[in-house]
Symmetry: C2
Subunit: 251 residues, 2 copies
Amino acid sequence: MTDTGSTSPQAVTAGIVVIGDEILSGRTKDTNTGYICEYLTQIGVEAREVRVVPDVTAMIVEAIDTLRGRYTYVFTTGGIGPTHDDITADAVASAYGVGIDVDPRAVEMLRRRYPDAELTPARLRMARIPHGADLIENAVSGAPGFRIDNVFVMAGVPRVMQSMMDTIGPTLKTGSRIWSETVDTGMPEGRIAEPLGRIAQAHPDVQIGSYPHYDGKGFNTQIVLRGRDAEKLQAAKSDVVAAVEELAQSE
Amino acid sequence: MTDTGSTSPQAVTAGIVVIGDEILSGRTKDTNTGYICEYLTQIGVEAREVRVVPDVTAMIVEAIDTLRGRYTYVFTTGGIGPTHDDITADAVASAYGVGIDVDPRAVEMLRRRYPDAELTPARLRMARIPHGADLIENAVSGAPGFRIDNVFVMAGVPRVMQSMMDTIGPTLKTGSRIWSETVDTGMPEGRIAEPLGRIAQAHPDVQIGSYPHYDGKGFNTQIVLRGRDAEKLQAAKSDVVAAVEELAQSE
């Protein structure tokens, strides 16, 4: 889309940190990023950057510290389970320079969920929460996530993360709704590129993206227009449709 | 996995930069990261960090500049097509402080591929290559990627990226092969966490990851062990299997 490098004043922005060696080894294919990005777009929050980092404290801290200063919100997934490699909560406490302990509110959530289970040290590890954080309920498996300042710490298991996102969503400040329109061109990107560049220049408030894909026989291109002003969006879309029709006729 | 924060001396490492607003809006679900991570693991290269950035020059430059200093290799996907929002090649030239022009070798590749097509300014945009870069052949659609220093610049269309990766793979210096073993525990993570922590401490050269998943009825956990020394890996695996059997019997 257009390279403005800037974000409109009413924009609410987000960074995402995905934590886990299993993503970087390729063993687990990350679906959380796509889910969160789509969720945020729908409520008018712009995801601006994603970082995937291993289970290494220094790298988790670096990613969270950088993104929390840049964006309205930061969302993390992964590393809050009961095992030795779950170090996200400690890394977040370290990023904020606060202590971390087993939190009685989190213990209560685990007790309600597993009334007959023994709260072993491993299970209690999931109740370790940085001082000053608010808990995020986990409707699926009990062990909560948490929010500290503008950072939301969620589980990595997609179903659990999604339930936490549904809890978080309504609490977020959201930007004005971003509208989008899609035009299917039926032609490779190279044919439409020049008129598209002119249209992008003529409509600075509309982001115009061009997405080629290979459909097994050849290249086709979708044009996606996005913007906060529905009228301006429609005007840009009309220009794209007209350009596509003109090109199709000249074939 | 274990939080050593360090990489063994013989390790060959990689950072990945995924470029494109369409990923951050959630419209396109990125599958390139998972593909590249799995590919690299198979040839003994460790992916250590991924960044997803928008079509904004400053952010592409920042990501490439940081990662190229940290890791043996950097792989980028996206932003090398013919349209106004394809700014990756210019961003890479800017990161390296070199010029960029239409490259006769790239033009020749496009001509061979499309002997009857007019090389419009848009198509020629795909032949803009930073000075000093080597080209990466594109078996699918002709327009090449390129390598400059330790940075490999690939297309975003998965099929094209995969064909470029197959060209790049054999040219890479690779680390010693990383072996892996998986143990299916049949129990939630909380039950296995404590013995697993002890086993991880007893086998410092083996990375032990614990991956819970929800199978529709309850939580199950896979333990994945990874290491460069096959004997040490088997020893750690035996300990995990023994611990799982003991826990299963005590049920």
